[in-house]
Amino acid sequence: MSDHSFQDPLIIAGREFRSRLWVGTGKYKDFEETRKAIEASGADVVTVAVRRVNITDRNSDNLLDYIDPKKYTILPNTAGCYTVEDAVRYSRLARAAGVSDLVKLEVIGDERTLFPDTAGLIEAAKILIAEGFIVLPYTNDDPIVAKKLMDIGCPAVMPLAAPIGSGLGIRNPYNLKIIMETVKVPVIVDAGVGTASDAALAMEYGADAVLMNTAIAGANDPIMMATAMRYAVDAGRLAFKAGRIPRKLYATASSPIEGML
C-alpha cells in the first residue's frame, strides 16, 4: 500500500493529488538529501519559500534542479511574513517566479510561537482570492476561523497540530475533529508533527492530508523518517476509512466459549 496504489486521490480545487503526505523542503543538509527524503516520502506536493537570490556568492545549484516541477506540485509559502502586505507581496512574487496560482498562505502573528495571525490571514486571503490565487491557508486549530476561510473561497484549510517545528504532536484533537466536521473542504494538518504516530493519528481522526517539514528534515536519518511518515499516513488513512471499533471499558472475548471442557 505504500506505493499509493489504492485509489484514493485527494482533490483540491479540481487538482488531483496522489499522496496525502505533503512535505516542506527547508532545513535539509543539502539539496541531494532534500531530493532523497522527498522521494522516500512519496509526496507529490512540496512547499518552498521565496527569497532573494544571493548574487554575491552564488551557488549555481537551484532547488528546482533537484525537485522537478514537472514531477512535483511546487507549493510556495509566505513563511516569515508578519503583515498582510508582506504576505500578499510574497504571494505575487511566488506566482511570478513559478508556474501556478497556488500559494500556502502564512501570516505569522508572533516570532516565538509562529502562530498564525488569523485576522491578517483572512484579510490577505480575500485579496489573493480576488486576484485569482488558489489560497491554502496555514491557520490555527480554530473551527470558526477555518469556516470563515472556507466561506471566503479557500479550497482547503491547513490547521496546525502544534507550533511549527515543535514536534509536540496534535495538541487539540477535539478542535481538529470539529474543524473536519465543520468545513466542507479538505483539511490538511500542518505543522507540529513530531513522529510517525502523530501523522497516523491525524489521518485516523479524518484529516485529508498532513504537511510536515522539521519532523523529517530534523530527524537523525531524514530519509528513513520520510519513509516512516509515508507508511504512517497510509496506515492512518486506511484505518480511518476502515472504521475503528468503539472503545469499551470491559473485555469482549474474541474466542468462543462453546465447546470448552
Binding site: T34, A49, R52, N77, G80, R89, L93, A94
Partner: protein
C-alpha cells in the same frame, strides 16, 4: 549608471535590460521573479525592460522552505 540589485549598489552600463542583467548574473529567467521599484515584472517583459539610473531591483527564487532565511 548605478542600480541597486538585491540591496547591493552596482555600477552598470547603459542600456541594460532585465534579461541582460540576469544573464550577467548567470541566472535563468524562468527560475526567478523580478521586481523593479516594487513593481513585479511579467517574464515576457524581461527582454524589453530597460533599467534606469537608481532603479531598485529585487531578484527572487524558490529555496527550501520555510527555514529562516534572508528576506527582502
Amino acid at each position: 549608471m548605478y542600480i541597486i540589485v538585491n540591496g547591493e549598489l552596482q555600477e552598470r552600463g547603459h542600456p541594460l535590460t532585465v534579461t541582460h542583467l540576469l544573464e550577467s548574473l548567470d541566472l535563468r529567467s524562468e527560475r526567478v521573479a523580478v521586481e523593479v521599484n516594487f513593481k513585479i515584472l511579467d517574464r515576457s517583459d524581461f527582454p524589453t525592460w530597460n533599467l534606469q539610473e537608481g532603479d531598485k531591483v529585487e531578484i527572487l527564487s524558490f529555496i527550501g522552505g520555510g527555514a529562516p532565511q534572508q528576506r527582502l
